[in-house]
């Protein structure tokens, strides 16, 4: 995890420095805040990765240059199979957003579909596959 952690921490430090330079040379609010936001985007996950890097060192086979393919045998992760919920969630989001342009009444079907999709997603995950 070392490279991943350092990449994100590096982003955090870079934007911290640039943000400070920007503030003290321009006193411009919007840019400064956005640069600080970017700094946090690097520091927060970066420190998480760094913490785990220290704990697990290079125990993952993809972190070791001499690892063999057999070391990665077995369960990699769970990959949900075909699922209707992404499509329905997308449909719900589309309808809900269009309510802002074409009429508040669209909120009702849109939000209903989104809630159904969220429920479906969660239930599907709990059952580890198809609902």
């Amino acid at each position: 995890m070392r490279v991943e952690a350092l990449l994100l921490l590096g982003i955090g430090f870079f934007f911290g420095v640039v943000g400070l330079i920007y503030w003290f040379t321009s006193y411009e609010d919007a840019g400064f805040l956005m640069l600080m936001g970017t700094m946090l985007l690097g520091l927060v996950p970066g420190s998480y990765y760094f913490f785990w890097h220290r704990r697990m060192k290079d125990s993952r086979p993809e972190d070791r240059p001499t690892a063999s393919i057999e070391e990665g045998a077995g369960v990699v992760s769970s990959f949900p199979h075909s699922s209707i919920w992404p499509f329905l969630f997308g449909l719900g989001a589309f309808t809900t957003l269009l309510a802002f342009a074409f009429g508040v009444w669209l909120f009702l079907p849109g939000v209903v579909v989104i809630l159904a999709a969220v429920t479906g997603f969660t239930a599907e995950s709990r059952r580890g596959g198809q609902v």
Partner: protein
């Protein structure tokens, strides 16, 4: 007469954890046809869907460009009303930038290729991946809906500057659906960014350390991070704009104490990283194609990685170089950072040249398109350096000089490099080859058309013709240059008609591609064309950044400085073994035990 390749999905499949054997047929209840497409979570299907949709957007936006160029053949043309003209260039820009260049790269190519290149069975979050596509499709439909509204589509340019974009100056549903469409596609992009980063961080195959990933994957990682930096800012700005338009806020309007320039800060903080989001994947494609057709490894791999990071980091700090003429931004800060971007970009250029240097160059269609990219981006990039100097920007801002600059860089990347990638990976996606003759015809016609279209525009801009004008009564002498530019655009259109013919012919009269028709280097070329469900039945040992090459050419390892053979090759004892053919399944099999 060759046989038609059986399409994927009918071969060995792996079902969910509680069902179905590993076998060669559909399990019970498996959806087929249209339902199968709607419920897919396979990154390959989603990637193809993105590519098809975004290329359709490309052709639509291209038609709009043709109409724009037709209007500009004479200084006082009345082919289009001013209103329609403004709609057309707004939608041309919006479709190309938001709906083609980005989604084609990170939703299409990266979605398909990145899991393959790291040896993963799919993306880290397959259902989120599918959701990204549906949001993108919804966003595209919404954007196009603008043309069907009473007041017409948005007509304030793809950048929607306040106060022009407020409810007073741009009333109607057209601008509203433009905003909503970008919220949808913005979330689509953010979810894809999350997926890319998680996949690259967590799903790499054993032995594939970060510094052995292909450069395309590295570039997609950095692009994913840039997406997370930039798109939320755009979404926030769009929400603010919508509130100003409809909920009585005065964030950007002077009357209520708002600040119009704030829109520009927010938009360009997104907008500048956005154009690098649109460039970095295409740089990655070039870095994949050049080594293969030079028969050598990437030159300066680590330099490439650090250059990509530097470009991304710097690009986030230069947003106000689009605002030099406002008079209220800190010129030296933004000027210096903008000029500095030339350094990592130059490093990339030298590394690309180094890759070709002393190689055995094979000018296949993908390689030709890469050379086209190098030439286009060279000039486009250099004119960008001019624009980084505020006094020069004052002289040419908002003129055709800028139009020529950004078309050269965007066209160079998204079109030349993008279609290089398309021709390069087409055999992997479909198992069949595109026709070389038609491909070369496409390239040459496009190349000539491209230079003919955009080089006159530099001159037009230097003479002072502004951009976004439907007529140019103040510069009648520029008529002939505009006509040259329009003629070039016709050539571009014809070249893309040839590509459609090529696609049709390759589908109807297929030539079998095989696993690795280009003798390419990276992992995706180790598996079949197209790859089976969950991508790999076995993997070669991964000892360098070109595992497939090492497997096929164990006697031609990479040589570093001083002639040392790349040391990673000496550390393994498994070279040449086809690992996994009879041993444990390597990946993608959730709880199926080895037989």
């Amino acid at each position: 007469m060759t046989d038609v390749i059986t399409l994927p999905g009918t071969g060995a499949g792996v079902e969910g954890p509680h069902e179905g054997p590993v076998g060669g047929h559909h399990a019970e209840g498996e959806p087929t046809g249209f339902l199968k497409w709607i419920t897919t979570t396979d990154h390959k299907v989603i990637g193809m869907s993105y590519m098809v949709t975004s290329i359709i957007m490309f052709y639509l936006a291209g038609i709009m460009a043709m109409i724009i160029r037709a209007q500009l053949v004479t200084p006082n043309n009345s082919l289009l009303s001013f209103h329609v003209y403004n709609e057309l260039f707004t939608m041309h820009g919006s479709l190309m930038l938001y709906l083609f260049a980005g989604p084609f790269a990170f939703g299409g190519l990266a979605n398909y290729i990145v899991p393959l290149q790291v040896g993963a069975p799919d993306m880290a979050f397959p259902r989120l991946n599918a959701l990204s596509y549906w949001l993108y499709l919804g966003g595209s439909i919404t954007m196009l809906m603008g043309f069907l509204t009473a007041g017409g589509a948005a007509d304030f340019g793809w950048v929607a500057y306040a106060p022009l974009s407020n409810a007073v100056n741009s009333p109607g549903a057209g601008p509203d659906v433009w905003i909503l469409s970008l919220v949808l596609t913005g979330f689509s992009a953010i979810f894809t960014g999350v997926n890319l980063i998680a996949t690259i961080f967590y799903l790499r195959a054993p032995g594939m350390t970060m510094f052995r990933m292909p450069i395309f994957t590295w570039n997609m990682l950095v692009t994913g991070i840039l997406i997370l930096i930039a798109f939320p800012v755009l979404t926030a700005a769009l929400v603010m704009l919508f509130c100003d338009r409809h909920f009585g806020t005065h964030i950007f309007s002077v009357q209520g104490g708002g600040v119009p320039v704030l829109w520009q800060h927010l938009f360009w903080f997104f907008g500048h990283p956005e154009v690098y989001i649109l460039a970095l994947p295409y740089f990655g494609i070039v870095t994949e194609v050049l080594p293969v057709f030079s028969r050598k490894p990437v030159f300066g791999y680590k330099g490439m990685v650090f250059a990509t990071m530097a470009i991304a980091a710097l690009s986030t700090g230069v947003w106000a170089h689009h605002m030099f003429t406002t008079g209220v931004v800190l010129l030296p800060f933004f000027s210096l950072l903008s000029l500095l971007i030339a350094v990592p970009t130059g490093i990339k250029f030298f590394n690309w040249i180094g890759t070709m240097w002393r190689g055995h160059l094979w000018f296949s269609t993908p390689m030709l398109f890469c050379i086209g990219f190098l030439l286009a981006f060279l000039m486009g990039g250099i004119t960008g350096i001019f624009l980084a100097a505020p006094p020069i920007d004052f002289a040419v801002h908002d003129t055709y000089f800028v139009v020529a600059h950004f078309h050269q860089v965007l066209f160079g990347s998204a079109v030349f490099a993008g279609f290089a990638g398309f021709y390069y990976w087409y055999p992997k996606f479909t198992g069949r080859m595109m026709r070389e003759g038609l491909g070369k015809a496409h390239f040459w016609l496009l190349f000539v058309g491209f230079w003919l279209t955009f080089t006159p525009q530099y001159y037009i801009g230097m003479e002072g013709m502004p951009r976004r004008v439907a007529v140019y009564p103040t510069h009648p002498g520029l008529e002939v240059w505009n006509q040259l530019s329009t003629a070039g655009s016709v050539l571009i259109a014809v070249s893309f008609a040839i590509m459609l013919v090529n696609l049709w012919v390759s589908w109807r009269k297929p030539i079998v591609a095989g696993d690795n028709p280009w003798d390419a280097h990276t992992l995706e070329w180790f598996t079949t064309s197209p790859p089976p469900h969950h991508n790999y039945t076995h993997l070669p040992p991964i000892r360098s950044e070109r595992p497939t090459w090492d497997y096929n050419h164990p006697d031609a390892p990479s040589i570093g400085h001083g002639g040392r053979v790349h040391e990673h090759h000496l550390l393994n004892g498994h070279d040449g073994d086809r690992v996994g053919a009879t041993s444990a399944p390597t990946n993608g099999h959730e709880s199926v035990e080895p037989k």
